[in-house]
Structure formats: C-alpha cells, structure tokens
C-alpha cells in the first residue's frame, strides 16, 4: 500500500458517514440509469427494475466490500468498541475516576521508580565503552581499599599489559580570580591518559597530550561542560584564552561534551598531574588510579596480573605493605555501591507491591461493577448478543480504562521524577541523570499492557460464568446476599500485601530513628561550614599559611552574630580521609591513625568534651613545642597494644605531612589530652583512632571554616565572606553548608530509601482501605433486607454496626495473618539497610498491624453507620 493509500484509508475511517452517503447516491444513480436503458430496450417498468437490480448484483455485499476496501475494517470495529467503552465510562464518571486514579498511582509510582532504577543501574555510564573502565586500589586487608603511591603507579603503567591505558589523579582545589568575586573550583590533577581511560570527547578544543605533562607546560586546563556553562557563560571563545587560577595564568585548552562529569562537584576542571622528584616515595599514598581494560578482558584477569606485578615489586615495597593486595573494581560497581543497589531492589520491590495492590483494587471495583451490570448483561444475552461479543466489549472497556490510567500514570511519573530529583540527588552517583525518557515510556507501555491483561479478563469471565437462566431469576429478585468470595479474597490479598509494605516501612523508620539518635559526639545546631583553599604560589611557607589561618579566625570571630569560629581539615560526621601512623617506643610496628588538624576553637565549637589533660590551645602555634590530642579510641588502642594507661604527657613519633609536598616527616609530638570520640564513620561502624594536631603546627593549604552563630545563616555567610576578603581578596569561599545538611548527606543513603518506601507503603495502605471500603459497602447494600428484618425483629443499631465491623475485621485479620507471614519471609532482604533493628523486630510488626487494623476500621465506618441508619420498613418494602 502506498502512503497516499494509507492516508486516504485513515481519512475514510473518520469520514465514514460521508462515504456511506456518497455510495448510496451512486448506487441509486446507477440503478436509475440501468433502469432507463432497460426501459428503452422495451421492457416493462417492473421488468426493467428487476433487470437493473440483477445486473448490479448484491448491493449489501458490495457495500460491505466497499467498506473493507476503503478502510481498515478491524480498526473500525475496534474503534466502535472503544467509543462504546468510552461512552460507558462517561455514564459512570465516579467509577471511572476512581479506577483511573488508582491505576495512575500504581503506574505512576512504578514508572517513576523504573526511571530511577534505569538511570542508576541499567543505563551505561556516560563514558565510551564504560564497562571497560576500572578502578585499581591497593588493599591493606580484603575489603579495605587505599589509594596508591607515585612509584607504584608508574611501575603498574609500565608493566601492566591488560590495560589499554592507566591514569592517576589527585584532587585539587583552586581559586578562579580576575572576574568579579573569586570562585573556588574543585578539580583533578590527572595524567595524560585520563581522557583516554574515561573516553569523554571534547566539544571545543582538545584534551591533554604528553607534552602538557612536561614540567613547565602544566599550566593548561580542560573544563567540564557544566563549568563552562555556569562559570564561563558558555563562551565559545574561551579556548586558548588564559584564566587566573590561584593567581597563575592557565590556558583553557578544551571543553568537554555535555553529560559526563556535569553533576560532579569534585571534578569541574582538569589540570596535568606532574609528579615531582620528591614525590617518588613508596610510603605516600595519594593517587587514585583508573584503567581502561583491553577489549574482552575481565577485571578478574586484570586483578591477577596486578597482583603478580605487586609481588614482583616486593623487594622495593616497604615491609609493612608486604601483606597488601591489589584490587580491580569495575567503575559501575564502584559508583553504585552495595547499599544503593540493595536500596534500589528494595524500593522497586515495594513499588511493584503497590502496583499489585492497585490491580487488586481495580479488579475489585470491576467485579463490583460487573455485579451491578449483571442484569443488563443477562438481558442482552437473552436478546441474542453472543458471549464473545459482550466479552470483547467489556475487555475493550477495561483496556480503555487501562490506557487512561496509564496516561495519567505517566503524567504522575514525570511529576514525581522532577519533584524527587533534587531529593534523590545526594543518593545517586554523579553519573546519573534523573529524567524520564523513551525507555520509561516503553516500560509504562509494558506495565499498562500487563495490567490490562491481568484485570481485563475479569468482567468477561464473569459473563461466561453467569448461568443465564438462574441469573435472570436472581436478577428479578434483586439478588439478595451473594457470596462474592472472589472479592473478599482480593481484599484479604490487598491487606496482606499492604502489611508487608507497612512492616518494611516501619522497620526502616525505626532504623532511621535509631540513626538520628546516634550519639554524634558533637553539637551541630546553628553551625555553618565553608571551605577555604590557599594557593601554594602565594602562601609558600607553612608559617605564611599559619599566619593566614590565625588572622582569618580573628576576623571571622569579629563578624556580628558569630559566637564561635573554628578551623579544621575535616568536618565532624565526615570521614577523616587523611591516614598517617604513630611510632610508640617499644612497639614493633607503627599504629595507623586518622590525622586531623584543628585549631583551638574546634572542640569548643562542637562541644566535644575533654576527658584527660588539655585540649589544643591558642598557645600551640607554629614553632612552639609540638603537641597533639587523641580520641578515646586511640587511647583504648594504646592501652590494649602497649599497656599505656595514661597516654597524657608521653611523646610519640608522628608521621606529619610536609606543607605543600607529598611526603611526610616523623616528628616527636607530645600527647597533651584525650577527648571523647566524635563520629566520623558511618553509624554503627567503630570509631577509628584519631590524632588531632594544631593546624598552626602542621599547616595545610585547604581547611574547613566552622561558624556557630545566633543569627540567620545567610547574613553570617555574607559577613564571613567579607572577613575572608579583608584577609586575602583573591580567595573564594567554597562548599557552604549547614552542619544539618552535612549530617543529612551522611545519612542520605539510609534515609532516602526509607522515605520512599514509607510513601509507597502509604499508597498501599490507602489502596487497601479503598478496597475494603468498596467491599464492605457493597455487602451492606446487598444485605439491607437481611438487616432490615433483623432490625424489625429488635436488633439495635449498635448490633448492626458491630456486625458490619466484625465482618470487615474478619477480612483484615485474615489479611494480617497472611501478610505477617509474608513480611516474616521478606523483611530480611532489607537487613543490610537496617541499623539497630532486627528484620523481625516485634515492635515494628505490632505497629504495622495496628496501623492496618485502624485503617480497616476507618474504611468500614461509613458503610457501617449507613447500615445503622437503615429504616427497616423502607428496606423491606423496596426489596419485596
């Protein structure tokens, strides 16, 4: 068929009446002409008419053929059924609205959840051949990963054959000046093959070449697309232009294509990584290594090769690292993380339950409607409509409902996704873009078809099951008291499924409460945090940096509204990424510790109590005797390992990073105090041993500024920015966040899924309530007569209410028993996400059951009170 023909046929479909009229006109004209000719040939008028008819042939069969030819008859039939279905639905708008609404909830939640799952887990990462990108770690113990050293990276790169390219990177943070307020940009110093490993193309310019990594040529940068747009206003002339970073001119050589890295806060630009001769040390771990596997090689093969290489380097490796291993982990797996994967499965399972409940609800409503239409169907059957024809019509009606619900669900899903995207951004990797696309659309199509099949057959089944003769008799009597076991079964199933969800949700919420109640060891109210980074070119010596920090703190303290100010390299509730070691006299091996620099205000600002000795004091300055404070965990470790009861006053060897360089020196440092543990690791994880050293004694080029205030945080931030500007006008403030937000971020992985599942459980309970309400009110309607008789015989209103409620509670209780066993079997899948709660926590189960019973009672109150208000005389008359 040509396109012309196709279009013409579609036109014919909608202009049916016009075609019919024209055809009738043509037939009449034809017969008239034929008759005239026949008359002319000498036949009588009667004979002429018969002859004309005979020559013409069968008119009706020709018309039928005409219809078939000019259009798509099957489409026309289907269209007629759809029109009929729509008309039927418009006659009962309440029913239609409820079914479409329920379906929209189910489909919407599922499509939105699929969009999330797809974006996070199914879609390939936004890099070329992303499945070949791996992260290579050193592993002190199985399951513990560590960055690596410059010499190890260079050896790996030279010896490894399983990789097409290997690249090392290290985080950097620089101040962009020269245009308005200084802006802080976080980026990565990377080796030349970085963009080969990640396979991200440029939109403008180029990426790094080996000559960019030669000393003296490293003042070039590549921008992410998002940075180019947000910071440089998408200026196409940026390439080859020089910009000021930390006061030094840097040439922009390229801008990446949109997509990859655009949501990353940590990688907004890239600069060549030049390894200085002083950094060739096998004890200093500062490089993150990624590799691109050769085609058809597995991460496991690469791991085996890397372990062989590590073994061959044993002679040059420090002895304490001889037990270390090398791990190779696919990037996708690394970004996703076990917890997120678990949460995804759990949330998707929850949302599928919601859909099942929605389907059960709709089936229930359809059954109720089917029962109400039984009389109509029986009469139509008696009048000769075939069962298959009636079935097809009912099926179409359900499919129309499914399509409407699907469309509404899609709209709901797109709303949900756009509304939830900011809420979920903390939870998903930076490579994920949350938006619904054609894949979600296809998924919606699949779901709606499945739902259509699942519920579509029900009304049709009812018809074929109906015994016409008996139904007619029953219908004429007004059908008093049917059994409706199917509908009751569905309600039980709904209650059971909802209970599973509500149990899961209440477990997760109890776990969330536990997480919130976790002793953080710090006071976080009214605290705003920011970060400040110093360019090494301007602050060349540790003394210069120490002076800067001192004057910064002075100025910030003077800002109106600021009650306390402190500096630290790491915020409370955030992991201390800096690991060093202490050497204790008489101990064979150094003790690994976390290394955190703080100033004299830190302990006060967060209210961390001192247990022994003293804290960091203002007098611990650059050049004064070196001191440190340790946390309880380290004190306990010292007591265990070395039998040191009172560490205060003893001197230990501490590995201290050298200012502006990637190396450490061992300094003799006196322990002057012990403080209580502050939480730096995930809730539930043990506190690591931490040393706190005065920032002035071991300065660094990047710190967090912590401000406690009693006024609005926006005003405080403006004041702090001014204070910073008065110390050094080229320095920007970065990472502005309240401590509450910091804490939220730490808990996001646990709280987001809990909230989502809570919402789904709410949906489910609501749907179950609707289902229960529907069944009970129908039962009440059908038993009006029985209740009328009872009341006529002296039953009180309260007896009737009790009877109805008892009936409903019976359903709820059966549902609870089934649901509880389901929940017993299923909640253990949430185990890894639960904190301080057993998957079989009786409190959570009791709460869930209580909630479902209350919902059941509420759902039945309306029909029950209606039953109580029955007028016995009326009901008996109306049914008689």
């Amino acid at each position: 068929m040509t396109v012309h023909g196709l279009v013409a046929r579609l036109v014919a479909l909608v202009r049916k009446r016009q075609f019919e009229e024209e055809l009738d006109g043509e037939i009449a004209a034809h017969l008239e002409l034929a008759e005239r000719d026949a008359l002319a040939s000498g036949l009588s008028p009667e004979q002429a008419r018969i002859a004309a008819r005979k020559q013409f042939g069968g008119i009706e069969s020709m018309k039928e053929q005409h219809r078939d030819r000019r259009s798509f008859p099957w489409l026309e039939n289907a269209w007629r059924d759809v029109c009929y279905g729509v008309a039927g639905l418009r006659r009962d708008p309440g029913f239609t609205a409820v079914v479409v609404g329920v379906l929209a909830l189910g489909v919407g939640a599922n499509v939105a959840m699929f969009g999330l799952l797809d974006a996070v887990m199914l879609k390939p990462l936004p890099f070329g051949n992303p499945d070949r990108i791996v992260r290579i770690w050193e592993a002190p113990r199985p399951g513990v990963t560590n960055s690596t050293t410059a010499p190890d990276f260079l050896d790996w790169r030279q010896m490894a054959t399983t990789f097409e390219a290997l690249t090392a990177e290290s985080p950097i943070s620089m101040a962009l000046t020269g245009a308005g307020d200084p802006v802080r940009l976080d980026g990565r110093a990377v080796t030349a093959d970085y963009f080969r490993v990640f396979d991200v193309g440029v939109q403008l310019g180029r990426t790094f070449q080996p000559r960019d990594l030669e000393p003296g040529h490293e003042a070039v940068i590549v921008l992410s697309h998002a940075t180019w747009e947000s910071v440089f206003g998408a200026d196409r002339g940026i390439v080859n232009r020089k910009i000021l970073l930390d006061g030094e001119p840097h040439e922009v050589i390229g801008v990446l294509r949109p997509g990859a890295f655009d949501r990353s806060e940590e990688a907004r630009f890239w600069r060549p990584l030049v390894i200085q001769p002083g950094q060739y040390k096998r004890g200093v771990h500062w490089l993150m290594v990624h590799g691109r596997l050769r085609p058809n090689l597995t991460p496991l093969q690469a791991r085996d090769e890397m372990r062989r290489i590590a073994a061959s380097l044993r002679d040059v490796t420090p002895s304490h690292k001889h037990t270390w291993l090398v791990e190779v982990e696919p990037l996708q797996k690394l970004l996703l993380g076990d917890n997120l994967r678990q949460s995804m499965y759990l949330m998707f399972g929850a949302v599928v339950l919601v859909l099942l409940i929605a389907c059960a609800n709709i089936a229930n409503l359809l059954l109720a409607k089917g029962a109400a239409r039984r009389k109509e169907m029986v009469i139509r059957t008696a009048l000769g409509a075939s069962r298959s024809r009636l079935g097809a019509q009912l099926l179409t009606e359900t499919l129309v409902l499914a399509a409407l619900g699907g469309a509404a669900g899609l709209a709901l899903a797109s709303f949900l996704v756009s509304a939830a995207a900011p809420f979920l951004a903390e939870m998903v990797p930076y490579t994920t873009t949350l938006a619904l696309d054609y894949r979600a659309l296809a998924f919606a199509g699949v779901i709606v078809s499945l739902v259509g099949v699942l519920i579509g057959g029900l009304p049709a089944m009812q018809i074929s099951a109906a015994n016409i003769g008996s139904s007619l008799q029953q219908a004429s009597r007004g059908s008093s008291g049917g059994k409706h076991s199917l509908r009751r079964f569905i309600v039980v199933a709904e209650v059971a499924l909802s209970l599973v969800l509500v149990c899961g949700a209440s477990l997760l919420f109890r776990s969330l409460l536990n997480l919130r109640a976790v002793e953080t060891g710090v006071r976080i109210e009214n605290v705003v945090t920011m970060s400040v980074n110093l360019p090494l070119q301007t602050y060349r010596t540790p003394a210069a940096a120490a002076t800067f920090f001192e004057s910064l703190r002075e100025r910030v303290r003077a800002v109106p509204g600021v009650s306390q100010a402190a500096l630290s390299t790491h915020l409370p509730l955030r992991w201390v990424g800096n690991g060093e070691a202490i050497e204790v006299a008489g101990q064979p091996a150094p003790i690994n510790v976390r290394f955190k620099r703080v100033d004299a205000g830190y302990m006060d600002a967060f209210g961390i109590p001192l247990l022994k000795g003293r804290g960091i004091a203002e007098s611990d300055r650059h050049g004064s005797p070196r001191v440190m404070v340790i946390n309880e965990a380290l004190a306990a470790r010292l007591a265990d390992a070395a039998g040191i009861r009172n560490p205060v006053g003893m001197t230990v060897g501490l590995y201290c990073p050298v200012y502006g360089e990637r190396r450490t020196t061992t300094e003799q440092v006196e322990i002057v105090g012990v403080i209580r543990n502050e939480r730096v690791a995930a809730p539930g994880a043990p506190h690591p041993p931490i040393v706190y050293v005065p920032l002035s004694q071991v300065p660094i080029d990047g710190v967090k500024l912590i401000v406690r205030s009693d006024i609005d945080s926006a005003a405080v931030i403006a004041g702090v920015r001014e204070a910073l500007g008065s110390v050094d006008s080229h320095l920007p403030l970065g990472d502005i966040a309240t401590m509450r937000e910091v804490r939220e971020r730490t808990l996001a992985g646990a709280s987001r899924p809990a909230w989502l599942i809570g919402v789904f459980a709410g949906f489910a309970a609501l749907l179950a309530a609707i289902g229960l309400y529907g069944v009970i009110s129908q039962t009440v309607n059908q038993r009006r007569r029985e209740m009328g008789i009872r009341m006529a015989l002296g039953a009180r209103a309260s007896d009737v209410v009790g009877h109805v409620l008892g009936d409903a509670l019976q359903l709820v209780l059966i549902g609870l028993v089934v649901g509880a066993s389901g929940a017993f079997a299923l909640t253990r899948f949430a185990k890894s996400l639960l904190f301080g709660v057993s998957p079989l926590d009786p409190v959570a189960f009791v709460i869930a059951c209580g909630a479902m019973v209350s919902i059941g009672i509420v759902a039945c109150l309306i029909p029950a009170s209606r039953a109580a208000r029955l007028d016995p005389a009326m009901t008996l008359r109306e049914e008689g």
Binding site: A29, E32, L33, A34, H66, R69
Partner: protein, 112 residues
C-alpha cells in the same frame, strides 16, 4: 454458472477500469460498467456493482480522480477520470499483465 461466461480474473478489474478511463476519458460509474461489458462482450459475467469497491481503492491510491457532475437522469453523480499517476499505472499494469500471461503461457507450453 455457465461455462462460456467467466468471472473477471482476479486483479484484472483494476486494469479494465484504468484502461477504459484512459481510452474514453471522464465518465460516471454506470457508463464505466457498460463500457467494460461492451468491450468484453458476452464472455464476461460482471456484477456492475463490483466496480465501486475497485473504484474507491484506485481513487485512494491516487490513480483516478473524481468530480461531481449530472447524470442523464439529472442526478448528481461522481465522474471518474485518470490522473497523471494513473496514466503511468496503466502502463505498469499492462506490463505486469503481459509478464504474467507470458509466464503462464510458457509454463503451459513447456508442460503440454
């Protein structure tokens, strides 16, 4: 059904209609039916009505055009005429038909 009279072979009615319109030009349905009967003579058994489903299809394919006119009995009727595409289609249909008959003839010649 008598043996001398045959129904129109499947698919040839289109060709007959197009060819008639090509030869005669614009005409209405009855005239077209009469024309086909006359040319084919007594050997054809045509239900005149059967041209209408064929006409609608040819129109939809864009090979014939319809205009409104007045019949000999003063009734408003559709007149059919060939379009430019239809003119080309006649040649295609004739070529197809000749190919098909030649094939069948060769086949019959080879097996007889």
């Amino acid at each position: 059904m008598s043996k001398e009279k045959s129904e129109i072979p499947y698919g040839t009615l289109d060709l007959l209609i197009l060819r008639s319109l090509e030869t005669i030009g614009r005409m209405h349905g009855y005239a077209l039916a009469r024309r086909i009967e006359q040319v084919c003579g007594e050997s054809l058994q045509l239900s005149q009505g059967s041209i209408y489903p064929a006409l609608i299809r040819l129109e939809q394919e864009g090979w014939i055009d319809t205009t409104w006119g007045v019949s000999e009995t003063n009734r408003k009727v559709k007149f059919y005429s060939l379009t430019e595409a239809g003119r080309k289609q006649v040649a295609v249909e004739i070529a197809n038909w000749e190919k098909a008959t030649a094939l069948v003839a060769r086949f019959l010649g080879a097996t007889s």
